[in-house]
């Protein structure tokens, strides 16, 4: 049996004056493949290690954290791909509630700010609205977002202006509705983003693309929104 060594960020405001890094060693069994498998074992040893997790298959977006300096999902990260000791920290740029659990209020606020729902004021037809396979394909790479915040919390512009810059996840969602042929609010959506901060704080640094565990590309979506804005000027 091999061992896995961690250094985990620990902070419990109930008892700790300030955060510290703790060394933790866990025995690894053959069936332990992912970082989450081993983190769950660390918790068996010390039940006070706090982190979020649910689906353990990369679809719920709960267990985003900073792993050896890079944001990712513990449940999709192979233990073998990691240099030890594995440095685990909470997602950067958001307030820490406890250990690896961050307060995501600001992140969700930005998501909510883009009106993340289909807007179509026509009377709904009896049956489904029609959409061609090609039109539907425009939503691929957009709708799959799991709102894990790996992207936004790796984006320098979001760190500096989390209250004003929508951030990559929110902008990806904004484009998801702009790109949907069933949505009728494109021009309102563009008006809303036409702002020095909300959209234009993105400087195409692409950290977000690197960080996304689902292989999505917020930078590309942001680029498309910017294109549409230019196009409606001419």
């Amino acid at each position: 049996m091999a061992t896995v060594k961690f250094r985990i960020y620990r902070y419990d405001p109930d008892k700790d004056e300030k955060p510290y890094m703790e060394d933790v060693t866990v025995e690894r069994e053959a069936s332990d493949r992912k970082l989450l498998d081993i983190l769950v074992k660390a918790k068996y040893q010390d039940d006070s290690i706090a982190f979020r997790r649910s689906c353990r298959e990369g679809v719920c977006g709960s267990d985003a954290m900073n792993i050896n300096g890079k944001n990712g999902l513990a449940c999709l990260t192979d233990i073998d791909s990691l240099k030890q000791p594995i440095m685990l920290r909470p997602l950067p740029g958001l307030p820490v509630i406890r250990d690896l659990i961050v307060d995501m209020t600001q992140f969700f606020k930005q998501y909510h700010s883009i009106k993340p729902y289909l807007i179509n004021n026509d009377h709904p037809p009896e049956r489904e609205r029609l959409q061609s396979p090609e039109e539907r394909e425009e939503l691929n790479g957009l709708y799959e977002c799991i709102m894990c915040a790996c992207c936004s919390t790796s984006c320098p512009s979001f760190w500096w202006n989390p209250d004003k810059f929508v951030g990559p996840a929110g902008l990806l969602a904004a484009y998801r509705f702009i790109a949907d042929t069933r949505d009728q609010a494109t021009s309102e959506r563009l008006d809303d983003l036409e702002d020095p901060y909300r959209l234009f704080r993105c400087h195409s640094i692409m950290n977000c693309v690197d960080a996304c565990p689902k292989g999505l590309n917020p930078t590309k979506a942001i680029g498309k929104i910017k294109d549409l804005m230019v196009r409606r000027l001419v």
């Binding site: 419990d12 405001p13 109930d14 008892k15 069936s31 493949r33 918790k43 068996y44 010390d46 039940d47 006070s48 706090a50 982190f51 979020r52 997790r53 649910s54 689906c55 353990r56 298959e57 990369g58 679809v59 719920c60 977006g61 709960s62 999709l76 509630i97 406890r98 250990d99 659990i101 995501m104 969700f108 909510h112 009106k115 993340p116 729902y117 289909l118 179509n120 709904p124 009896e126 049956r127 489904e128 609205r129 029609l130 959409q131 061609s132 396979p133 039109e135 539907r136 939503l139 709708y143 799959e144 799991i146 709102m147 509705f177 949907d180 069933r182 949505d183």
Partner: protein
């Protein structure tokens, strides 16, 4: 722990516990009706386990070929091995088109056919013309149907301004001496604060409890909290012996590979490369009902035709499919296979085993989503103020075996109908809330106090593991009389340990150790109900396959079990064989 002594009271017209598919669907109904509604969830809504559903949602839209709700109803009754209530099944199948179209209107990104309509694929047990041949009935968004659906419904709730209490855990129901449900006690994870949510109508939409088994497709959070809370409040649990083992969980990891893979043409093979389902279900083959396929697989393994060094899994073969189909229709499956099996399904088969997946039983309800119990000889007495929908509820549309894609449909139809019942029931109630009983929050507070003060107790993780092992070994795909009897004894031993669990973490801030201990209190109720019901039912029907009673026994067992926590005892109620408007679907031998 002063805050425990006098919990704050928050008043709402309605509360919904659970923000998965069922909870969110009901919330749309309530919020759009203008009632003051709170939705309480252990996790941010889009992290609920509905997000993991892959294959599709059933509706006889008939977009690719002729279909009808009557055929769907027939398949569902047959799939349930005649244990499903035919009134509820008719209700669900007739409503399917309406609720799926509504979803599309909410913005759900369904895949499309060339003519612009919703794409549909075949799924196990769904047939045309009363069981003749597979039909395309599963409406899909690639293999991410649950994700697309949950997000679309969350988004609709954002539009409707639904009030969410995220990362709050409901602890116990509040019932007064008349048996009326008046709300729940709940704890905010971030602060540890305990609050009473008082309401005129309370809906449980807390999802499944697959975590009672060692190997499961279910998320960590699927701990049967709604069932635990209901059982502690004196509500019986229905048909708990019926657990669906999904044929294709990734061997070792438990992560699900949707049946949609077989719908798209995937084939199961044993160690000789044989397509063994041809022997067990000559007609439907790989697309027979799940219990049938899982038993066939367990038999293949038992008879030494499993694959791998330990001959303990089978292979799901997609290599003959066009890689384009895999990339376009099953992209998530390819990802899962690469991540958790280390194989690329375009080139190699995926190792799979039957894995615990879905709870057919649950809190007994009628098709309006109202919780019902037996009272004065009647089996349909409504518990005032209490509703349940989704996987935690038993309407019962799935009976002894659920068809794939019928669960996402169940949560839409009954989420909506529960919401509608709540709206109309609340409107018929007095404007003022009924008075809370003095001891309303005692149960929750005493559980918390016990945990706080427990010394030299049992380790939560070890007890949980013991429970999952007992369930896996004693109550799996095939069930043996001596194993079940021992299982009952063993699970009651585990329960004693659950009563003395101890946590070291005593922090008030996001104490996940405490949450896991509280969840275990719920899991054990589900485990007991399951084991006791399985031991008692002396027949094989749907997912219950007894070695000693291999046949269905309609003369003695065409009835629902009801497990009562008090006294750990069972009673029964008849199956509703009469649909709402059509002729009853007569009992028949179930062959695929």
């Amino acid at each position: 722990m002063n805050q425990l002594a006098h919990p704050t009271i928050r008043k709402f017209d309605a509360i919904i516990v659970g923000a998965g598919g069922a909870g969110l669907r009901a919330a749309i109904q309530l919020s759009e009706s203008g009632l003051k509604t709170a939705v309480i969830s252990k996790v941010f809504p889009t992290r609920s386990h509905t997000v993991a559903a892959q294959g599709g949602v059933a509706a006889s839209l008939g977009n690719s070929e002729e279909d009808s709700w009557q055929w769907h109803m027939y398949d569902t009754v047959k799939g349930s091995d005649w244990l499903g209530d035919q009134d509820a099944i008719e209700f669900m199948c007739r409503k399917a088109n309406e609720v799926v179209v509504e979803l599309e209107h909410y913005g759900m990104p369904f895949d499309r056919l060339e003519n612009g309509k919703i794409y549909q694929r075949p799924f196990g047990g769904h047939m045309s013309n009363f069981g003749e041949k597979p039909v395309r009935r599963a409406c899909a968004a690639a293999d991410r149907t649950g994700h697309a659906m949950l997000h679309a419904m969350y988004q609709r709730n954002v539009r409707a301004n639904t009030q969410f209490f995220v990362e709050w855990m409901a602890l116990d129901l509040i019932r007064d001496i008349d048996g009326q449900v008046l709300g729940v006690t709940a704890m905010e994870m971030e602060t540890g604060e305990v609050v009473i949510f008082q309401a005129k109508a309370t809906l449980f939409a807390t999802g499944g409890a697959g975590r009672i088994y060692y190997s499961s497709t279910n998320a960590f959070i699927n701990t049967g909290d709604g069932l635990g809370m209901a059982a502690r409040a004196g509500i019986p649990l229905e048909d708990m012996e019926f657990w669906q083992f999904h044929p294709t969980g990734v061997a070792g990891a438990g992560v699900l590979i949707t049946e949609g893979v077989r719908g798209e043409g995937g084939i199961l093979r044993n160690s000789t490369g044989e397509r063994f389902m041809e022997r067990y279900a000559p007609n439907a083959k790989d697309l027979a009902s799940r219990d049938v396929v899982s038993r066939a697989m367990a038999t293949e393994i038992k008879e030494g035709r499993g694959c791998g060094p330990d001959k303990d899994y089978l292979l799901l073969d997609l290599t003959h499919l066009d890689p384009k189909t895999i990339m376009q229709r099953l992209p998530g499956i390819r990802e899962i296979s690469l991540q958790f099996a280390g194989t690329d399904p375009i080139k190699e088969s995926i190792p799979v085993v039957p894995t615990c997946h879905y709870m057919m039983g649950g809190i007994p309800t009628n098709y309006h989503g109202q919780v019902v119990v037996t009272k004065d000889g009647r089996h349909d007495a409504v518990v005032p103020g209490f509703y349940a929908a989704g996987e935690c509820a038993c309407a019962s549309v799935h009976g002894a075996n659920r068809l794939g894609t019928n669960s996402l449909l169940d949560l839409l139809v009954f989420g909506k109908s529960a919401g509608e019942s709540m709206v109309s029931d609340i409107k018929a109630m007095p404007a003022a809330h009924k008075e809370l009983p003095q001891d309303g929050s005692d149960l929750a507070r005493s559980r918390l106090a016990r945990l706080e003060n427990q010394q030299s107790g049992a380790n939560v993780h070890e007890v949980q593991l013991a429970m999952r092992r007992v369930m896996q070994d004693h109550c799996g795909v095939f069930r043996f009389p001596d194993m079940l009897a021992q299982g009952v004894t063993k699970i009651l031993e585990v329960e004693k340990q659950v009563m003395v669990t101890e946590i070291r973490d005593k922090s008030q801030v996001f104490n996940t150790a405490r949450l896991e201990a509280l969840e275990l209190d719920n899991l054990i109720e589900v485990a007991k109900a399951t084991m006791v019901s399985a031991e008692a039912r002396r027949e094989s029907r749907g997912a219950q396959a007894r070695e000693d009673f291999p046949d269905r026994d309609d003369a003695n067992w065409l009835k629902h079990t009801l497990w009562h926590r008090e006294g750990n005892r069972l009673d029964f109620k008849p199956v509703q064989m009469k649909p709402l408007s059509v002729d009853s679907i007569e009992l028949k031998k179930r062959v695929y």
